[in-house]
Protein backbone atom coordinates (compact mmCIF):
# COMPACT_ATOMS: atom_id res chain seq x y z
CA UNK A 1 0.00 0.00 0.00
CA UNK A 2 2.74 2.46 0.96
CA UNK A 3 4.66 1.80 -2.24
CA UNK A 4 1.62 2.42 -4.38
CA UNK A 5 0.91 5.72 -2.66
CA UNK A 6 4.48 6.80 -3.31
CA UNK A 7 4.16 5.87 -6.94
CA UNK A 8 0.87 7.74 -7.34
CA UNK A 9 2.41 10.82 -5.75
CA UNK A 10 5.50 10.55 -7.88
CA UNK A 11 3.66 10.68 -11.20
CA UNK A 12 2.38 14.27 -11.07
CA UNK A 13 5.72 15.41 -9.71
CA UNK A 14 7.52 13.69 -12.56
CA UNK A 15 5.11 15.14 -15.10
CA UNK A 16 5.68 18.63 -13.74
CA UNK A 17 9.44 18.27 -13.96
CA UNK A 18 9.30 16.82 -17.45
CA UNK A 19 7.01 19.56 -18.76
CA UNK A 20 9.23 22.24 -17.24
CA UNK A 21 12.25 20.71 -18.93
CA UNK A 22 10.31 20.58 -22.20
CA UNK A 23 9.37 24.26 -21.97
CA UNK A 24 12.93 25.29 -21.18
CA UNK A 25 14.36 23.24 -23.98
CA UNK A 26 11.96 24.71 -26.50
CA UNK A 27 12.49 28.23 -25.24
CA UNK A 28 14.79 30.80 -26.81
CA UNK A 29 18.38 29.74 -26.52
CA UNK A 30 20.91 32.52 -26.98
CA UNK A 31 18.97 35.03 -28.99
CA UNK A 32 15.63 36.45 -29.90
CA UNK A 33 14.15 34.61 -32.80
CA UNK A 34 11.22 35.79 -34.79
CA UNK A 35 10.14 35.40 -38.33
CA UNK A 36 8.92 38.29 -40.39
CA UNK A 37 5.64 38.43 -42.21
CA UNK A 38 7.00 38.63 -45.75
CA UNK A 39 7.23 35.86 -48.31
CA UNK A 40 10.19 35.63 -50.61
CA UNK A 41 13.80 34.69 -49.98
CA UNK A 42 14.74 34.35 -46.33
CA UNK A 43 17.32 36.82 -45.03
CA UNK A 44 18.53 36.33 -41.47
CA UNK A 45 19.39 39.52 -39.61
CA UNK A 46 21.54 39.45 -36.48
CA UNK A 47 22.48 42.09 -33.94
CA UNK A 48 24.72 42.71 -30.95
CA UNK A 49 23.46 43.00 -27.43
CA UNK A 50 22.45 46.57 -26.74
CA UNK A 51 19.48 48.80 -27.40
CA UNK A 52 20.68 50.61 -30.53
CA UNK A 53 21.50 47.25 -32.09
CA UNK A 54 18.05 45.85 -31.32
CA UNK A 55 16.46 48.88 -32.98
CA UNK A 56 18.67 48.76 -36.07
CA UNK A 57 18.26 44.99 -36.38
CA UNK A 58 14.49 45.25 -36.19
CA UNK A 59 14.51 48.03 -38.79
CA UNK A 60 16.51 45.90 -41.20
CA UNK A 61 14.10 42.95 -40.73
CA UNK A 62 10.99 45.07 -41.19
CA UNK A 63 12.36 46.91 -44.22
CA UNK A 64 13.33 43.65 -45.87
CA UNK A 65 9.87 42.21 -45.14
CA UNK A 66 8.26 45.20 -46.83
CA UNK A 67 10.37 44.71 -49.94
CA UNK A 68 9.74 41.16 -51.01
CA UNK A 69 11.98 39.32 -48.56
CA UNK A 70 11.26 37.13 -45.57
CA UNK A 71 13.21 38.79 -42.83
CA UNK A 72 14.17 36.57 -39.91
CA UNK A 73 15.50 38.21 -36.74
CA UNK A 74 18.24 36.60 -34.69
CA UNK A 75 19.00 39.57 -32.49
CA UNK A 76 20.84 39.92 -29.19
CA UNK A 77 23.61 37.51 -30.17
CA UNK A 78 26.26 39.04 -27.93
CA UNK A 79 29.45 40.98 -28.54
CA UNK A 80 30.90 41.89 -31.92
CA UNK A 81 33.04 38.75 -31.80
CA UNK A 82 30.01 36.54 -31.49
CA UNK A 83 28.01 38.42 -34.14
CA UNK A 84 30.91 38.32 -36.55
CA UNK A 85 31.39 34.61 -36.03
CA UNK A 86 27.71 34.02 -36.75
CA UNK A 87 28.06 36.09 -39.92
CA UNK A 88 31.11 34.24 -41.16
CA UNK A 89 29.67 30.79 -40.65
CA UNK A 90 26.37 31.69 -42.27
CA UNK A 91 24.11 31.57 -39.24
CA UNK A 92 23.14 35.14 -40.06
CA UNK A 93 23.32 36.98 -43.38
CA UNK A 94 23.92 40.48 -42.06
CA UNK A 95 24.06 42.60 -38.94
CA UNK A 96 24.72 46.25 -38.05
CA UNK A 97 28.37 46.99 -37.23
CA UNK A 98 30.21 50.24 -36.57
CA UNK A 99 32.99 51.38 -38.89
CA UNK A 100 35.34 52.05 -35.97
CA UNK A 101 34.53 48.76 -34.24
CA UNK A 102 35.29 46.84 -37.43
CA UNK A 103 38.78 48.34 -37.53
CA UNK A 104 39.41 48.00 -33.80
CA UNK A 105 38.06 44.52 -33.24
CA UNK A 106 37.19 42.63 -36.40
CA UNK A 107 39.13 43.13 -39.60
CA UNK A 108 42.92 43.24 -39.56
CA UNK A 109 43.99 46.89 -39.57
CA UNK A 110 47.45 48.27 -39.08
CA UNK A 111 47.55 51.59 -37.36
CA UNK A 112 45.35 53.43 -34.93
CA UNK A 113 41.75 53.82 -36.13
CA UNK A 114 41.52 57.05 -34.15
CA UNK A 115 44.08 58.56 -36.53
CA UNK A 116 41.69 58.32 -39.47
CA UNK A 117 40.47 61.87 -39.62
CA UNK A 118 37.12 61.53 -41.32
CA UNK A 119 34.10 59.25 -41.09
CA UNK A 120 34.50 58.54 -44.80
CA UNK A 121 38.12 57.41 -44.44
CA UNK A 122 37.09 55.16 -41.54
CA UNK A 123 34.29 53.65 -43.59
CA UNK A 124 36.51 53.06 -46.63
CA UNK A 125 39.14 51.32 -44.48
CA UNK A 126 36.53 49.11 -42.81
CA UNK A 127 34.85 48.31 -46.11
CA UNK A 128 38.19 47.31 -47.61
CA UNK A 129 39.02 45.16 -44.60
CA UNK A 130 35.72 43.31 -44.89
CA UNK A 131 36.07 42.80 -48.66
CA UNK A 132 39.47 41.21 -48.24
CA UNK A 133 38.24 38.52 -45.87
CA UNK A 134 37.31 35.02 -46.77
CA UNK A 135 34.36 34.62 -46.99
CA UNK A 136 34.10 38.25 -48.03
CA UNK A 137 31.62 40.71 -46.58
CA UNK A 138 30.24 43.97 -47.88
CA UNK A 139 29.83 46.92 -45.56
CA UNK A 140 26.99 49.00 -47.00
CA UNK A 141 26.52 52.77 -46.69
CA UNK A 142 26.67 53.87 -43.06
CA UNK A 143 23.90 55.81 -41.39
CA UNK A 144 24.93 59.46 -41.05
CA UNK A 145 25.63 59.57 -37.33
CA UNK A 146 28.50 58.80 -34.98
CA UNK A 147 28.05 56.60 -31.91
CA UNK A 148 31.25 57.21 -30.01
CA UNK A 149 32.19 58.29 -26.52
CA UNK A 150 30.64 61.60 -25.60
CA UNK A 151 31.76 63.83 -22.78
CA UNK A 152 28.93 65.99 -21.59
CA UNK A 153 28.53 68.77 -19.08
CA UNK A 154 25.58 69.97 -17.06
CA UNK A 155 24.05 72.92 -18.88
CA UNK A 156 24.35 75.37 -15.99
CA UNK A 157 28.03 74.52 -15.55
CA UNK A 158 28.69 74.70 -19.30
CA UNK A 159 27.06 78.11 -19.54
CA UNK A 160 28.76 79.50 -16.46
CA UNK A 161 32.20 78.46 -17.71
CA UNK A 162 31.58 78.94 -21.41
CA UNK A 163 32.32 75.31 -22.22
CA UNK A 164 31.68 74.02 -25.73
CA UNK A 165 34.59 71.67 -26.41
CA UNK A 166 37.06 69.36 -24.68
CA UNK A 167 39.87 71.92 -24.70
CA UNK A 168 37.79 74.41 -22.76
CA UNK A 169 36.59 71.63 -20.49
CA UNK A 170 40.16 70.60 -19.72
CA UNK A 171 41.03 74.17 -18.76
CA UNK A 172 38.09 74.38 -16.37
CA UNK A 173 38.36 70.81 -15.09
CA UNK A 174 40.15 71.52 -11.82
CA UNK A 175 36.92 72.91 -10.40
CA UNK A 176 34.72 70.16 -11.75
CA UNK A 177 33.63 66.69 -10.68
CA UNK A 178 33.61 63.90 -13.26
CA UNK A 179 31.25 60.94 -12.91
CA UNK A 180 32.79 58.00 -14.74
CA UNK A 181 32.92 54.22 -14.60
CA UNK A 182 35.66 51.61 -14.11
CA UNK A 183 35.85 50.38 -17.68
CA UNK A 184 36.27 53.87 -19.13
CA UNK A 185 38.81 54.94 -16.54
CA UNK A 186 41.06 52.00 -17.17
CA UNK A 187 40.92 51.21 -20.86
CA UNK A 188 43.70 52.80 -22.84
CA UNK A 189 41.35 54.48 -25.31
CA UNK A 190 39.20 55.84 -22.48
CA UNK A 191 40.22 58.34 -19.84
CA UNK A 192 43.97 57.90 -20.43
CA UNK A 193 43.33 58.78 -24.08
CA UNK A 194 41.53 61.97 -22.99
CA UNK A 195 44.38 62.97 -20.70
CA UNK A 196 46.98 62.31 -23.36
CA UNK A 197 45.27 64.51 -25.91
CA UNK A 198 44.01 67.22 -23.58
CA UNK A 199 46.82 67.39 -21.01
CA UNK A 200 45.24 70.26 -19.07
CA UNK A 201 42.64 67.75 -17.86
CA UNK A 202 42.74 67.52 -14.07
CA UNK A 203 39.39 66.98 -12.47
CA UNK A 204 38.81 68.08 -8.91
CA UNK A 205 37.18 64.73 -8.22
CA UNK A 206 36.37 61.61 -10.18
CA UNK A 207 33.45 59.55 -8.90
CA UNK A 208 33.25 55.99 -10.16
CA UNK A 209 29.68 54.77 -10.46
CA UNK A 210 29.30 51.50 -12.33
CA UNK A 211 25.69 51.93 -13.39
CA UNK A 212 24.73 54.04 -16.39
CA UNK A 213 21.36 55.23 -15.16
CA UNK A 214 22.86 56.36 -11.87
CA UNK A 215 25.61 58.27 -13.62
CA UNK A 216 23.08 60.29 -15.54
CA UNK A 217 20.84 60.85 -12.54
CA UNK A 218 23.90 61.80 -10.49
CA UNK A 219 24.59 64.55 -12.98
CA UNK A 220 20.99 65.65 -12.97
CA UNK A 221 21.01 65.98 -9.21
CA UNK A 222 24.22 67.95 -9.26
CA UNK A 223 26.43 65.32 -7.67
CA UNK A 224 28.73 65.71 -10.64
CA UNK A 225 29.36 68.26 -13.36
CA UNK A 226 30.77 66.18 -16.19
CA UNK A 227 29.83 62.74 -17.43
CA UNK A 228 30.76 60.21 -20.08
CA UNK A 229 28.46 58.13 -22.22
CA UNK A 230 27.80 57.33 -25.82
CA UNK A 231 26.73 60.08 -28.17
CA UNK A 232 23.49 58.29 -29.02
CA UNK A 233 22.41 57.59 -25.42
CA UNK A 234 18.71 58.29 -25.00
CA UNK A 235 19.49 60.37 -21.93
CA UNK A 236 21.25 62.91 -24.16
CA UNK A 237 17.94 64.13 -25.55
CA UNK A 238 17.79 66.12 -22.35
CA UNK A 239 18.45 69.80 -22.84
CA UNK A 240 20.16 69.87 -19.47
CA UNK A 241 23.25 68.16 -20.86
CA UNK A 242 25.67 69.68 -23.36
CA UNK A 243 27.93 67.32 -25.32
CA UNK A 244 31.46 68.68 -25.68
CA UNK A 245 32.94 68.89 -29.16
CA UNK A 246 36.15 66.96 -29.69
CA UNK A 247 38.37 69.12 -31.93
CA UNK A 248 41.25 66.66 -31.80
CA UNK A 249 38.97 63.76 -32.75
CA UNK A 250 40.58 61.45 -30.22
CA UNK A 251 38.17 58.60 -30.77
CA UNK A 252 37.55 56.64 -33.96
CA UNK A 253 34.40 57.31 -35.90
CA UNK A 254 31.73 54.71 -35.17
CA UNK A 255 29.15 54.97 -37.91
CA UNK A 256 26.71 52.03 -38.10
CA UNK A 257 26.33 50.17 -41.36
CA UNK A 258 24.85 46.80 -42.34
CA UNK A 259 27.56 44.23 -42.96
CA UNK A 260 26.31 41.60 -45.41
CA UNK A 261 27.90 38.41 -46.60
CA UNK A 262 29.03 39.25 -50.14
CA UNK A 263 27.66 36.00 -51.56
CA UNK A 264 24.22 36.78 -50.12
CA UNK A 265 24.35 40.32 -51.51
CA UNK A 266 25.33 39.03 -54.94
CA UNK A 267 22.35 36.68 -54.94
CA UNK A 268 19.96 39.42 -53.75
CA UNK A 269 21.40 42.79 -54.79
CA UNK A 270 18.14 44.53 -53.85
CA UNK A 271 19.15 44.23 -50.19
CA UNK A 272 21.58 47.11 -50.69
CA UNK A 273 18.95 49.59 -51.78
CA UNK A 274 16.52 48.56 -49.05
CA UNK A 275 19.03 48.89 -46.22
CA UNK A 276 20.57 52.08 -47.58
CA UNK A 277 17.14 53.63 -47.34
CA UNK A 278 16.93 52.66 -43.67
CA UNK A 279 20.39 54.05 -42.93
CA UNK A 280 19.72 57.35 -44.70
CA UNK A 281 16.61 57.92 -42.57
CA UNK A 282 18.60 58.20 -39.34
CA UNK A 283 20.63 60.92 -37.66
CA UNK A 284 22.04 61.42 -34.18
CA UNK A 285 18.99 63.23 -32.80
CA UNK A 286 16.64 60.57 -34.12
CA UNK A 287 18.78 57.72 -32.79
CA UNK A 288 18.90 59.32 -29.33
CA UNK A 289 15.17 59.69 -29.41
CA UNK A 290 14.63 56.06 -30.42
CA UNK A 291 17.14 54.76 -27.87
CA UNK A 292 15.38 56.85 -25.24
CA UNK A 293 12.02 55.33 -26.10
CA UNK A 294 13.43 51.89 -25.35
CA UNK A 295 15.72 52.67 -22.41
CA UNK A 296 13.73 55.39 -20.69
CA UNK A 297 10.12 54.76 -21.75
CA UNK A 298 10.48 50.97 -21.63
CA UNK A 299 9.05 50.51 -25.13
CA UNK A 300 9.73 47.44 -27.26
CA UNK A 301 12.55 47.88 -29.81
CA UNK A 302 10.41 46.17 -32.45
CA UNK A 303 7.62 48.73 -31.99
CA UNK A 304 10.03 51.65 -31.90
CA UNK A 305 11.65 50.45 -35.12
CA UNK A 306 8.30 50.01 -36.82
CA UNK A 307 7.03 53.45 -35.81
CA UNK A 308 10.14 55.09 -37.20
CA UNK A 309 9.96 53.21 -40.49
CA UNK A 310 6.28 54.04 -40.83
CA UNK A 311 6.99 57.71 -40.21
CA UNK A 312 9.66 57.64 -42.87
CA UNK A 313 7.39 55.83 -45.30
CA UNK A 314 9.72 52.86 -45.60
CA UNK A 315 7.02 50.47 -44.44
CA UNK A 316 3.25 50.90 -44.53
Amino acid sequence: MKNRTKLIRAVPALLTVLSLLFVVACGNVGGTDSSGGGGGPTITVGSKNFTEQYILGNMYVQALDANGFNGVAKLDLGSEQIADKALQNGQIDLYPEYTGTALVAIVPYKGNPADLNSPKATYEAAKKGYAERSPADTMLEPAPFNNTYGIFVRKSVAEKNGLTNMDELAQASKNLTFISYSEFQNRSDGYPNMQKNYPALDFKEIKIVNELGLRYSGLESGEGDVGVGFTTDGQLTSDQLVVMKDPKSIWPFYYPAPVVRSDVLKKHPKIEKVLNEVSASLDVATMRELNGQVDLDQEDPEDVAREHLEEEGIVE
Binding site: S79, Y181, S182, E183, N186, I208, V209, N210, L214, G218
Partner: protein, 217 residues
Amino acid sequence: MLLEILEVYARPDFPEKLWQHVLLSLAALLVAIAIALPVALLIRNTRLGAAIAINIGNIGRAVPSLAILALALPLLGIGFASALVALTALAIPPILINASTGLREVSKDVIDAARGMGLSGGQILSRIQLPIAAPVIFAGIRTSAVQTVASATLATFIGGGGLGDLIVEGYSRRGPEILLAGALAVAILAIITEVGFGALERAFTPKGLKIAQKRGR
Protein backbone atom coordinates in the same frame (compact mmCIF):
# COMPACT_ATOMS: atom_id res chain seq x y z
CA MET B 1 47.00 34.00 -15.33
CA LEU B 2 48.41 34.13 -11.79
CA LEU B 3 51.04 36.59 -12.91
CA GLU B 4 48.42 38.78 -14.53
CA ILE B 5 46.32 38.72 -11.39
CA LEU B 6 49.33 39.81 -9.35
CA GLU B 7 49.88 42.62 -11.82
CA VAL B 8 46.38 43.88 -11.03
CA TYR B 9 47.28 43.95 -7.33
CA ALA B 10 50.30 46.06 -8.25
CA ARG B 11 48.09 48.71 -9.87
CA PRO B 12 48.22 52.11 -8.17
CA ASP B 13 44.46 52.14 -7.62
CA PHE B 14 44.28 48.73 -5.91
CA PRO B 15 45.25 49.73 -2.34
CA GLU B 16 42.60 52.44 -2.39
CA LYS B 17 39.90 50.02 -3.47
CA LEU B 18 40.98 47.48 -0.88
CA TRP B 19 40.92 50.13 1.82
CA GLN B 20 37.50 51.39 0.72
CA HIS B 21 36.18 47.84 0.91
CA VAL B 22 37.60 47.15 4.35
CA LEU B 23 36.49 50.53 5.70
CA LEU B 24 32.97 50.12 4.34
CA SER B 25 32.60 46.62 5.77
CA LEU B 26 34.08 47.50 9.15
CA ALA B 27 32.07 50.68 9.56
CA ALA B 28 28.83 48.94 8.56
CA LEU B 29 29.50 46.13 11.01
CA LEU B 30 30.31 48.42 13.92
CA VAL B 31 27.23 50.56 13.41
CA ALA B 32 25.10 47.44 13.02
CA ILE B 33 26.43 46.06 16.32
CA ALA B 34 25.83 49.42 17.99
CA ILE B 35 22.21 49.29 16.87
CA ALA B 36 21.36 45.60 17.09
CA LEU B 37 22.88 44.74 20.48
CA PRO B 38 21.13 47.45 22.53
CA VAL B 39 17.85 46.58 20.84
CA ALA B 40 18.34 42.91 21.64
CA LEU B 41 19.12 43.80 25.24
CA LEU B 42 16.06 45.98 25.57
CA ILE B 43 13.67 43.35 24.33
CA ARG B 44 15.25 40.38 26.04
CA ASN B 45 12.51 39.96 28.58
CA THR B 46 9.42 40.65 26.51
CA ARG B 47 8.09 37.94 24.26
CA LEU B 48 6.40 40.43 21.92
CA GLY B 49 9.56 42.46 21.54
CA ALA B 50 11.54 39.35 20.73
CA ALA B 51 8.97 38.24 18.16
CA ILE B 52 9.07 41.62 16.45
CA ALA B 53 12.85 41.66 16.42
CA ILE B 54 13.08 38.17 14.95
CA ASN B 55 10.55 38.97 12.27
CA ILE B 56 12.22 42.22 11.28
CA GLY B 57 15.48 40.31 11.22
CA ASN B 58 14.09 37.60 8.98
CA ILE B 59 12.54 40.07 6.59
CA GLY B 60 15.82 41.95 6.51
CA ARG B 61 17.68 38.80 5.55
CA ALA B 62 15.27 38.10 2.72
CA VAL B 63 15.46 41.51 1.06
CA PRO B 64 17.93 41.53 -1.83
CA SER B 65 21.01 43.62 -1.06
CA LEU B 66 20.79 45.53 -4.31
CA ALA B 67 17.26 46.64 -3.46
CA ILE B 68 18.38 48.19 -0.20
CA LEU B 69 21.27 49.90 -1.96
CA ALA B 70 18.82 51.37 -4.42
CA LEU B 71 16.59 52.60 -1.59
CA ALA B 72 19.45 54.44 0.11
CA LEU B 73 20.23 56.44 -3.02
CA PRO B 74 17.49 59.10 -3.01
CA LEU B 75 18.41 59.96 0.57
CA LEU B 76 22.14 60.24 0.40
CA GLY B 77 23.05 60.28 -3.25
CA ILE B 78 25.85 58.34 -4.86
CA GLY B 79 28.92 57.50 -2.85
CA PHE B 80 30.20 56.07 0.40
CA ALA B 81 27.38 57.29 2.66
CA SER B 82 24.62 55.52 0.74
CA ALA B 83 26.66 52.34 0.56
CA LEU B 84 27.30 52.52 4.30
CA VAL B 85 23.64 52.98 5.17
CA ALA B 86 22.62 50.11 2.93
CA LEU B 87 25.32 47.75 4.20
CA THR B 88 24.50 48.60 7.81
CA ALA B 89 20.85 47.77 7.20
CA LEU B 90 21.95 44.45 5.74
CA ALA B 91 24.36 43.75 8.62
CA ILE B 92 21.80 44.21 11.39
CA PRO B 93 19.52 41.15 10.93
CA PRO B 94 21.96 38.33 11.75
CA ILE B 95 23.22 40.16 14.84
CA LEU B 96 19.72 41.07 16.00
CA ILE B 97 18.36 37.58 15.52
CA ASN B 98 21.27 35.85 17.22
CA ALA B 99 21.57 38.30 20.11
CA SER B 100 17.86 38.26 20.77
CA THR B 101 17.59 34.49 20.58
CA GLY B 102 20.81 33.92 22.50
CA LEU B 103 19.71 36.06 25.43
CA ARG B 104 16.28 34.51 25.58
CA GLU B 105 17.61 30.97 25.35
CA VAL B 106 19.43 31.25 28.66
CA SER B 107 17.78 28.62 30.79
CA LYS B 108 15.01 29.95 32.99
CA ASP B 109 16.21 27.66 35.77
CA VAL B 110 19.60 29.31 35.79
CA ILE B 111 18.04 32.76 35.99
CA ASP B 112 15.70 31.61 38.74
CA ALA B 113 18.65 30.28 40.66
CA ALA B 114 20.48 33.54 40.20
CA ARG B 115 17.46 35.50 41.39
CA GLY B 116 17.23 33.17 44.33
CA MET B 117 20.81 33.98 45.18
CA GLY B 118 19.87 37.63 45.34
CA LEU B 119 21.36 38.94 42.08
CA SER B 120 19.73 42.07 40.67
CA GLY B 121 18.42 42.28 37.13
CA GLY B 122 21.51 44.07 35.97
CA GLN B 123 23.77 41.56 37.65
CA ILE B 124 21.85 38.70 36.08
CA LEU B 125 22.37 40.31 32.70
CA SER B 126 26.06 40.94 33.06
CA ARG B 127 27.07 37.85 34.99
CA ILE B 128 24.70 35.20 33.71
CA GLN B 129 22.86 36.05 30.51
CA LEU B 130 25.56 37.79 28.52
CA PRO B 131 28.34 35.28 29.18
CA ILE B 132 26.06 32.37 28.36
CA ALA B 133 24.71 34.08 25.25
CA ALA B 134 28.14 35.32 24.18
CA PRO B 135 28.98 32.46 21.80
CA VAL B 136 25.64 32.83 20.01
CA ILE B 137 25.97 36.61 19.84
CA PHE B 138 29.48 36.35 18.43
CA ALA B 139 28.32 33.76 15.92
CA GLY B 140 25.76 36.31 14.75
CA ILE B 141 28.41 39.00 14.48
CA ARG B 142 30.68 36.63 12.59
CA THR B 143 27.93 35.72 10.12
CA SER B 144 27.10 39.38 9.66
CA ALA B 145 30.75 40.32 9.13
CA VAL B 146 31.35 37.77 6.40
CA GLN B 147 28.07 38.65 4.72
CA THR B 148 28.96 42.34 4.85
CA VAL B 149 32.39 41.82 3.29
CA ALA B 150 30.74 39.95 0.43
CA SER B 151 27.87 42.43 0.01
CA ALA B 152 30.23 45.38 -0.04
CA THR B 153 31.09 44.39 -3.61
CA LEU B 154 27.73 45.86 -4.61
CA ALA B 155 28.82 49.32 -3.53
CA THR B 156 30.42 49.67 -6.95
CA PHE B 157 27.03 50.27 -8.53
CA ILE B 158 26.30 53.33 -6.45
CA GLY B 159 29.72 54.91 -6.41
CA GLY B 160 30.81 53.48 -3.07
CA GLY B 161 34.07 52.12 -4.43
CA GLY B 162 35.61 48.92 -3.11
CA LEU B 163 36.70 45.69 -4.75
CA GLY B 164 33.45 45.49 -6.71
CA ASP B 165 34.94 48.15 -9.00
CA LEU B 166 37.53 45.62 -10.15
CA ILE B 167 34.98 42.88 -10.71
CA VAL B 168 32.79 45.14 -12.86
CA GLU B 169 35.79 46.49 -14.74
CA GLY B 170 37.05 42.98 -15.47
CA TYR B 171 33.65 41.97 -16.72
CA SER B 172 33.18 45.06 -18.92
CA ARG B 173 36.65 45.02 -20.41
CA ARG B 174 36.55 41.25 -20.81
CA GLY B 175 39.70 41.02 -18.74
CA PRO B 176 39.36 37.86 -16.65
CA GLU B 177 42.54 38.65 -14.73
CA ILE B 178 41.02 41.91 -13.43
CA LEU B 179 37.76 40.20 -12.54
CA LEU B 180 39.49 37.33 -10.79
CA ALA B 181 41.81 39.66 -8.93
CA GLY B 182 38.82 41.47 -7.49
CA ALA B 183 36.84 38.33 -6.71
CA LEU B 184 39.85 36.62 -5.16
CA ALA B 185 40.56 39.60 -2.95
CA VAL B 186 36.98 39.59 -1.68
CA ALA B 187 37.16 35.85 -1.03
CA ILE B 188 40.40 36.19 0.90
CA LEU B 189 38.97 39.06 2.94
CA ALA B 190 35.90 36.98 3.72
CA ILE B 191 38.02 34.04 4.85
CA ILE B 192 40.18 36.27 7.04
CA THR B 193 36.99 37.73 8.53
CA GLU B 194 35.53 34.29 9.19
CA VAL B 195 38.69 32.98 10.82
CA GLY B 196 39.34 36.17 12.75
CA PHE B 197 35.86 36.42 14.19
CA GLY B 198 35.87 32.69 14.88
CA ALA B 199 38.91 33.23 17.08
CA LEU B 200 37.16 36.17 18.75
CA GLU B 201 34.15 33.96 19.40
CA ARG B 202 36.30 31.34 21.10
CA ALA B 203 38.02 34.02 23.15
CA PHE B 204 34.69 35.28 24.48
CA THR B 205 33.18 31.91 25.22
CA PRO B 206 33.29 31.42 28.99
CA LYS B 207 35.61 28.63 30.09
CA GLY B 208 32.83 26.65 31.65
CA LEU B 209 30.83 26.70 28.45
CA LYS B 210 33.86 25.60 26.47
CA ILE B 211 34.20 22.57 28.70
CA ALA B 212 30.48 21.87 28.42
CA GLN B 213 30.66 22.16 24.66
CA LYS B 214 33.56 19.73 24.57
CA ARG B 215 31.64 17.30 26.69
CA GLY B 216 28.73 17.65 24.32
CA ARG B 217 26.24 19.21 26.75
